[in-house]
């Protein structure tokens, strides 16, 4: 079995290496064949491993010893349990779909082989992350997906916005990683191991400890540090700023990395660490509040976006917020369940948006679309499914997972849960609004694409020659694009029906831990009466009606009275500006952090290094030597009589001194 486990990450790695280094020799077709083959192998193996895990075979073992020092043995190894295998399935399936889709999306791009190499490398890194049985490998995967994300956001490296966005993404993530690494180091220092099982076995000891220097309760410090890492990777407030900008990357990776998989790494990580988080209500409270803020406030921004990809991006932020709230409510299985359903319906939304972008010749502004459903029926249908699922309406996947989160947050007892419940409900309305706004704006209403362009620029235009901005005639996209859409739309509808098994069937077994005092999940399990029961009950509760009224509002504003949004925008003045400025985070970060760091650097360099150290100390001491020798030189005149006079004077002075003493 161990060989099989190894093969799962290594197959995409091999694909990445082949396409990356031998892309020229393999050619375009050869490159996509090897990478797709690699990912397909990993998907099939994941299915096999899934069946094996279902049969009760959990694996935890080392592959090799990475390093050993000071009593700390760090190994590379795998932990294969239900949580891992679920992630493996999601990652490899979405990745496979995205690989196929890319054939169509990147067809004309000169960086074709490079792109396939990157996404396969990403798949490898993500698999290493989810399959890790220790913190070192987790951190490796964590940083490696960050690297590939950096490379892919900046894929079109000649575009200033893209290379700004990728640097920003990397640095903001590094801020998160800073916390993450401190958390890992604290664990190493106090648990003496970085192996999950060993650390979890010591959890009760850890819970009793305090951090020696700071006096903080150790477990709270550890969990908050780890969660800061998750905030970076999973784009939680206030480290969310990189995700919208990451839309500069090609759309397939927005679907794969910035929606379905990488950004959920933080959610996965916290779930994996549930034995630790369960010991600190303070940390859980922190988690739930951050999640709540992200959920509501990012959803609000989505309403005012006009770029089709950015709407989906802000929607992703909001959905990640939901998952984070679930974590804070100790409903880890629900968070993972939403992670899974979200991976499907958000991938559909992103790939659908990509399909629209192809059809529109790389136009991304929704103000230049409208009425597309006639021209692109498959894209329309699949995106509609994605939007309904995103809004959380039954019987689509999003309903089951989102409703469970809201219920879990409702039942949560940690401080801040009330605030979170409010945010969760409000965001349901907003979610319905922006999801259907996207659909109506793009696919319904007046056909605006024949109008001459104003100021709008497609953000996804590869290169100058593709970026037609004249009138375009949209058309349905080729099969390599639509087939993955359909294949992803199926689980976007149906994966929610697994709720009974995944949440209430003890499916996760020992991979998730919930403390006795956190009764939310137990209560929910008690109240759960099957898929149909949940739907029947769902339509009588507030979230359903909120989502529906959100959708209705969108219908009214964008179909019935399309003139209204402009009026509302004008009337709401400051509020609209705040949303369009995204609460001013970007401006503040640019000014305070980027500007401040440069100012400080320049001050230290010019003031510290050049003036004080070099000016005063180094050249100053050289100058002092020069000055003293200049003084001394005055006496070295070379005239004998002056020396003679000096000598006589000296002798006289000495004699006087001697006689005076005597």
């Amino acid at each position: 079995m161990k060989t099989l486990y190894l093969l799962v990450p290594l197959a995409p790695l091999a694909g990445a290496i082949l396409a990356g280094f031998f892309g020229k020799i393999l050619g375009r077709t050869g490159s996509h064949v090897v990478t797709i083959l690699g990912v397909a192998i990993s998907f099939v193996l994941s299915v096999l491993i899934y069946q094996d895990v279902q049969a009760g075979n959990v694996f935890n073992g080392a592959v090799y010893t990475w390093m050993e020092s000071g009593g700390l043995k760090l190994e590379i190894g795998f932990l294969i349990d239900p949580l891992t295998v679920l992630m493996m399935l999601v990652v490899t399936f979405v990745s496979l779909m995205v690989h196929v889709y890319t054939i169509g999306y990147m067809a004309e791009d000169p960086g074709y082989q490079r792109f396939f190499s990157y996404i396969s490398l990403f798949t490898f890194s993500m698999l290493m992350l989810v399959m890790a049985n220790n913190f070192v490998q987790l951190f490796f995967g964590w940083e490696a997906v960050g690297l590939v994300s950096y490379l892919l956001i900046g894929f079109w490296y000649t575009r200033p916005t893209a290379i700004y966005a990728n640097l920003k993404a990397f640095l903001v993530n590094r801020v998160g990683d800073f916390g993450f690494l401190l958390g890992i180091a604290l664990i190493a220092a106090y648990a003496g191991s970085l192996d999950y099982a060993t650390v979890f076995a010591k959890r009760s000891e850890l819970a009793a400890m305090t951090e020696v220097v700071t006096g903080w309760p150790l477990i709270t410090a550890v969990c908050i540090c780890l969660f800061i890492g998750a905030m970076g990777k999973s784009a939680q407030f206030p480290l969310h700023v990189w995700l919208p900008d990451s839309m500069e990357g090609p759309t397939p990776i927005s679907a794969l990395i910035h929606a379905a998989t990488m950004v959920t790494a933080g959610i996965f990580m916290v779930s994996r660490m549930s034995p630790l988080f369960e010991l600190s209500d303070t940390a859980l409270s922190f988690v739930i509040v951050i999640g709540a803020i992200t959920t509501l406030f990012m959803a609000l921004i989505a309403i005012v976006q006009t770029d089709i990809k950015r709407v989906v991006a802000y929607s992703t932020l909001s959905q990640l917020g939901y998952m984070t709230m679930a974590l804070g409510a100790s409903a880890y299985s629900v968070a993972i369940f939403h992670l899974m359903t979200h991976a499907f319906f958000k991938a559909v939304l992103f790939l659908g948006a990509g399909s629209v972008i192809i059809a529109m010749h790389h136009e991304q502004d929704m103000r230049r679309m409208g009425g597309l459903r006639k021209y692109m029926p498959i894209t329309y249908a699949t995106m509609l499914i994605g939007a309904i699922a995103n809004a959380g309406l039954p019987p689509f996947a999003g309903f089951f997972s989102k409703d469970s989160i809201i219920e879990a947050v409702h039942l949560a007892q940690v401080p801040g849960a009330g605030f979170a419940y409010f945010c969760a409900l409000a965001a349901v309305f907003v979610g319905g609004l922006y999801s259907f706004r996207l659909i109506f704006f793009t696919f319904h209403g007046k056909e605006r694409f024949r109008e001459p362009a104003h100021d709008a620029h497609g953000h996804d235009a590869h290169h100058g020659d593709h970026g037609h901005h004249g009138p375009v005639e949209p058309h349905e996209t080729p099969k390599v694009v639509t087939v993955p859409l359909i294949l992803l739309a199926i689980p976007a509808i149906a994966s929610g029906w697994l709720i009974g098994t995944v949440l209430y069937g003890n499916w996760f077994g020992t991979s998730l831990t919930i403390a006795e005092v956190h009764k939310g999940m137990a209560t929910m399990a008690h109240e759960f009466h099957g898929v149909f029961g949940m739907m029947a009950h769902g339509v009588t509760t507030l979230p359903f009606w909120l989502a529906l009224s959100g959708a209705a509002t969108a219908w009214y504003l964008y179909i019935v009275r399309p003139d209204l949004p402009a009026v509302i925008k004008q009337k709401s003045g400051v509020l609209a500006t705040i949303l369009e400025e995204k609460y001013g985070f970007d401006r503040f970060n640019d000014w305070f952090f980027a500007g401040g760091a440069r100012l400080l650097g320049r001050g230290l360099w010019k003031g510290g290094d050049q003036v004080v150290i070099d000016g005063v100390m180094v050249n100053g001491s050289a100058a002092a030597v020069g000055w003293i020798s200049g003084l001394v030189r005055l006496f070295q005149t070379g005239r004998i009589y002056q020396y003679a006079f000096g000598m006589i004077f000296g002798v006289f002075a000495l004699l006087t001194f001697w006689f005076a003493r005597a």
């Binding site: 690297l147 401190l182 180091a185 604290l186 510290g608």
Partner: protein, 491 residues
């Protein structure tokens, strides 16, 4: 076991340099190939040091002993342990790469250039394996001469200022060390054997004085804040090969001095002054990180980045736990690969554009894709990305630092953000973007020789990142022994 391996490691490059000098610069082809042959031979003779190394003992291995100046009991005493052995291999490998890197680029007095590097390589090996105080001092000082000549003769326009600054800075530092060595000689009843000094009992006042004497000498070499300002100047003016050796090896000499002299000989003073050392190290990490951010000259930026990374090394030594000290040593080796590669990358661009200014570049990836891939890879290693060697040392030191004191670890970990910021911001401005100007548009991608040099380093960086086990394995016994020495008071 009777072995001449260490003598070979020292004298093969030095003696091999003689025919290179003798050939003169007229016969360029012959000079190059002979230099390469000598450098490779110099590397090959060091390989048995690793393969034949006994990881089970902390004692000195491959020891050679012969009387030298009997009047003062000075000996030709060589030996290596797990701390010094890796650096001999690193140094000999880097020499091979430096010879390859100077293959076509150096047009003026190539024989002297190659010869100087070969001599320096031998002298550096001597420093790492000398176990006699005087012998160490002779090698330590002698290695200044070729570096001084390399900067002064093949350097940039302001090379004379830089060379003199480099020379005076380091010479002034090491004079105090000589005083300390003589004091130790007298105190130990007439022995220059460094290992004998490890067992000396010394009062606290002299311990502190000795510590300071060594500190001044080693801190300049490392270089530690605030005696670091010679390094950016030296790097900027030095030819590529000079920068490579300076960053990869010369900076390690100071750090090595701390573990060979300061820590084991005056442990009480080391403990007393550890807060100072930690503070200086953290200033190097943070202060210099910010300074690196605003550099406009690539070589200066990498020079400052080196100082910042060396801050991790001195930090690791003075938190006195095994993972910290081993992490510092790993960081030294890794920095040898990564900084060498970074300087070589700048060299590759400089050879084509004759500019080191970031502002003169932009969009290099368009014309030099292969080079850009390697450069981004090394930049990532410089930012400490896992699976590269850059991560291992930093990670270990941070683990050690958190164990020592949370806030020290906290301050050290800021390098995660700062290191990425200054390195990747440079990459953004140099490598990515539209082709910035006609000069960039005319750039030719790297050829086979350049690819070989950078590719070899990339392989080392990757191998050490994926499997650092062998590197730490050789250190365990020696570091363990060192820490035992440090833990026992010598008062």
């Amino acid at each position: 076991m009777k072995s001449q391996l260490l003598s070979l490691a020292i004298w093969v490059p030095i003696l091999g340099a003689l025919p290179v000098f003798w050939l003169g610069s007229e016969r360029r082809t012959l000079v190059r190939w002979l230099s390469l042959a000598v450098a490779i031979a110099g590397f090959v003779v060091t390989i048995p040091l690793y393969t034949g190394f006994d990881t089970g003992t902390a004692g000195m291995q491959f020891v050679e002993q012969a009387p030298w100046i009997t009047r003062f009991n000075v000996q030709y005493l060589l030996g290596v342990d797990g701390i010094s052995m890796p650096f001999i291999l690193l140094n000999s490998l880097i020499t091979v790469l430096v010879v390859l890197a100077g293959w076509e680029v150096i047009e003026d007095k190539q024989a002297q250039y190659m010869g100087a590097f070969l001599v320096m390589s031998g002298l550096m090996n001597g420093i790492f394996c000398a176990l006699d105080g005087v012998l160490f001092y002779v090698f330590f000082e002698a290695s200044l001469i070729p570096m001084y000549i390399i900067i002064g003769a093949w350097g940039g326009p302001n090379r004379v200022y830089a060379a003199i600054k480099f020379f005076l800075y380091t010479l002034l530092g090491s004079l105090l060390m000589l005083v300390a060595l003589i004091w130790l000689f007298l105190e130990s009843g007439g022995s220059f054997n460094i290992l004998d000094w490890h067992h000396l009992r010394i009062g606290i006042a002299p311990q502190i004085l000795i510590f300071i004497a060594f500190l001044v000498s080693f801190a300049v070499k490392v270089p530690m804040w605030p005696v670091h300002t010679w390094l950016p100047d030296a790097h900027v003016e030095a030819p590529t090969g000079g920068s490579v050796v300076l960053a990869a090896i010369a900076l390690k000499l100071g750090a090595y001095g701390f573990v060979r002299f300061s820590l084991p000989i005056v442990p009480d003073a080391s403990h007393h002054l550890a807060p100072l050392m930690i503070a200086l190290s953290l200033i190097a990490v943070i202060y210099i990180g910010f300074v690196a951010l605003v550099q406009t000259d690539m070589k200066k930026l990498i020079a400052y980045s080196s100082i910042s990374h060396m801050g991790f090394v001195t930090l690791g030594f003075f938190i006195f736990n095994q993972i910290g000290v081993e992490g510092a040593l790993v960081q030294m080796i890794s920095h040898g690969f990564v900084s060498a590669a970074m300087f070589l990358c700048v060299g590759v661009m400089y050879d084509r554009m004759h500019s080191r200014m970031i502002a003169d570049y932009g969009g290099v990836v368009n014309t030099m894709p292969k080079f850009a891939a390697l450069f981004v890879f090394f930049a990532m290693a410089n930012s400490g990305l896992p699976a590269t060697s850059g991560f291992v040392g930093e990670f270990m030191v941070i683990l050690g630092a958190i164990k020592f004191n949370f806030w020290v670890g906290f301050a050290a970990a800021t390098t995660l953000i700062l290191g990425a910021a200054y390195t990747l911001w440079m990459v953004k401005r140099v490598v990515f973007g539209e082709v910035a100007n006609d000069h960039v548009a005319k750039l030719k991608d790297i050829g086979g020789r350049e690819f070989l040099v950078l590719g070899l380093l990339a392989a080392c960086v990757l191998a050490m990142g994926i499997y650092p086990f062998p590197f730490t394995e050789v250190m365990h016994a020696s570091v363990d022994n060192l820490l035992k020495h440090v833990a026992v008071s010598k008062l």
